[in-house]
Point group: C2
Chain length 372, copies 2
């Protein structure tokens, strides 16, 4: 679901925003190509309305690089490889260039073998998952992108945060002139950012979003955030909510599945060990893990037939009867493409807090502040 900005957002031209973010990473020692990928990925999130993964996150990347937990230069090394699979070591580098490299490798393998899947260990936050899945589209391929993430979610019947919000993204091309299918979703009911919004607005959250220190669903956003910081128990609930009545065990299962196909498969950190502190109580490198995959449509049949069927399916969904009071049925990705088109004209809406943070970063790094 596209996140609504709260108020007073400032509209910044896309190119100017991307260039500024790129310059920040270059200044921190990141190679220009890699800096561009990170900048493009963060701005793509804001363009798609996923502001929690946009430039609002820049501060955290800067801190990671300054603290030495993220390495500015870390070319991926290949640990294992077959015709259709590989595992890479991202050597504590930025997640974005590592995931892009892995996806390019998956695409190459898919063009030779029909399918390609590349796991990555020792990586970092890679931004929006859909960015990499969409790389496959221009190759007549289906793209798949999974990552594990910092533990924020409690397992069904539990009250400790052991699982990440572990997202899955899949992109598939439709017929010429039709938008592709782009699913990009976390496996928790809501992201942490949504709890933060309810806290700021002092609103009660719907049941099924988060649990308190007893492990039961609560509407009290402040309590959830406070408990998360102090590790007192409770956290985000998996898709499907508390217990099994609404299928919470399915959301929990999806989150686990994604961790099995990333952290466990790549031989990196999983569950509570992602973003874990070392024995000295200090943060260790995050050891985030990803899996990037591609299916070549030609490996299964006629790509044109696939594209046509997907467009037909989307049209059948969109034109089907609406629930009372609803005007539109969406196919995944469509809302984000429309938003991107709008923001490419209007500029990207950025929260004043994020703008302030970028001004501060520019000052700290001695970079010209070019966003006014």
């Amino acid at each position: 679901m596209v996140e609504a900005l709260e108020q007073n957002e400032i509209f910044i031209p896309v190119d100017r925003l991307r260039e500024f973010v790129e310059a920040v990473f270059v200044r921190l020692g990141v190679r220009p190509d890699d800096a561009w990928v990170v900048a493009d990925n963060l701005v793509a999130a804001d363009l798609r309305g996923i502001h929690s993964h946009g430039v609002a996150r820049l501060e955290r990347y800067v801190k990671g690089l300054k603290d030495g937990l993220i390495k500015p230069v870390a070319p991926c090394s290949v640990l294992f490889e077959t015709a259709a699979t590989a595992t890479l070591d991202a050597r504590d580098g930025l997640g974005q260039p590592a995931a892009k490299y892995a996806m390019e490798m998956a695409i190459r393998k898919a063009s030779e073998s029909g399918a390609g899947f590349v796991a990555v260990r020792n990586s970092n936050h890679y931004g929006i998952a859909g960015y990499y899945a969409m790389m496959a589209l221009s190759h007549d391929m289906i793209g798949i992108s999974l990552t594990n993430s910092a533990p924020l979610v409690v397992p069904t019947f539990g009250r400790e945060i052991i699982v990440g919000t572990n997202p899955i993204a899949v992109a598939a091309p439709a017929a010429e002139g039709e938008r592709p299918f782009v699913l990009d979703m976390a496996t928790s009911t809501v992201p942490r950012g949504k709890v933060e919004v309810y806290n700021r607005k002092e609103k009660t959250m719907p049941a099924g979003w988060a649990s308190d220190e007893t492990g039961k669903s609560t509407g009290d956003a402040r309590r959830v955030l406070d408990n998360l910081v102090k590790r007192r128990g409770g956290g985000l609930l998996p898709l499907g909510g508390e217990g099994e009545t609404w299928g919470g065990h399915k959301g929990y299962g999806m989150a686990l599945l994604i961790d099995v196909l990333t952290g466990v498969l790549a031989g990196g950190a999983f569950g509570a060990h992602v973003y874990e502190d070392g024995p000295d109580g200090k943060p260790k490198p995050a050891n985030v893990c990803h899996l990037l995959g591609a299916f070549d449509l030609k490996g299964f049949g006629d790509p044109q037939a696939f594209r046509k069927s997907l467009a037909q399916y989307a049209n059948e969904l969109r034109s089907s009867a609406k629930a009372d009071g609803e005007e539109r049925i969406f196919v995944h990705g469509e809302r984000e493409f429309e938003m991107t088109e709008r923001y490419e004209k209007s500029g990207v809406p950025i929260h004043p807090k994020s703008v302030g943070s970028m001004r501060f970063i520019a000052g700290e790094l001695g970079l010209p502040y070019t966003l006014d």
Copy 2:
């Protein structure tokens, strides 16, 4: 979630049940090998507590074969093939032998190329998805099994059933002596069978399970079932329930994703076209589609390290703090394995209605009834 039987179930020894079901299919012209696979798959569902996919379904298979909509003998043909991918035509045969054949092919491809994915079109109901995913376990592989299914689910903001309950199953092997991870879930909040149970018991369903003819969530099970039969609108809600508040668009997205990777990718039926009637108003062959996949652990690293990490993860989940009033945190598959072990000793609990139906089938086909 394991389904509870309602009452008065009859316990039938596993082998005797499997042999009876096998004999039914052989009598209907199915080759003994294929008949065994279908029987083994149906009995495996009952052993795992998924009775909606067990021998309770035998009657429908028998009807499909008698009506000629399911072909008793239909060897799969290969339509497209690369090193790591293929698409098969199941030629309106039974889903179980087709999916088993496809999974064997995926495993072969994975052992040669690291990964293997085989799509199947023109197939039928293939029983429990997890059956095929688990075939990969003994090969040191992760198994993946997806299928589309009859439309029963409304898209977010819609009120027409266009999407199936499209399940996903993934099985991954753990260390020696530890149970594998086996996720096997439909992408609707609950299966239709659950609505039927609430109807029989005249209980009000929790909000978020199903919608009425206006497209809004309802607790009235009778109304939902009646509307489904008469196609008046409404149906099962995707995982996450009505609208977007609890992530219903994510469950809807998962269901679509699975249809894209089965019906659309295999070049078969998708959405409302699965189990569609012909222009003459009579049922056509179902044209169910599957995708069976395998990842060879050796293609990504050391299989022993994977198995050890998975067992460690499962133990960390199980031993983590429980929510108030809860005694146990489950890892997916574990409950079903425990149930299987119990039923292998006690016999498989079968609903008296299903037992009656099998007695009737035996009479009709002139087969000895061997289940007393």
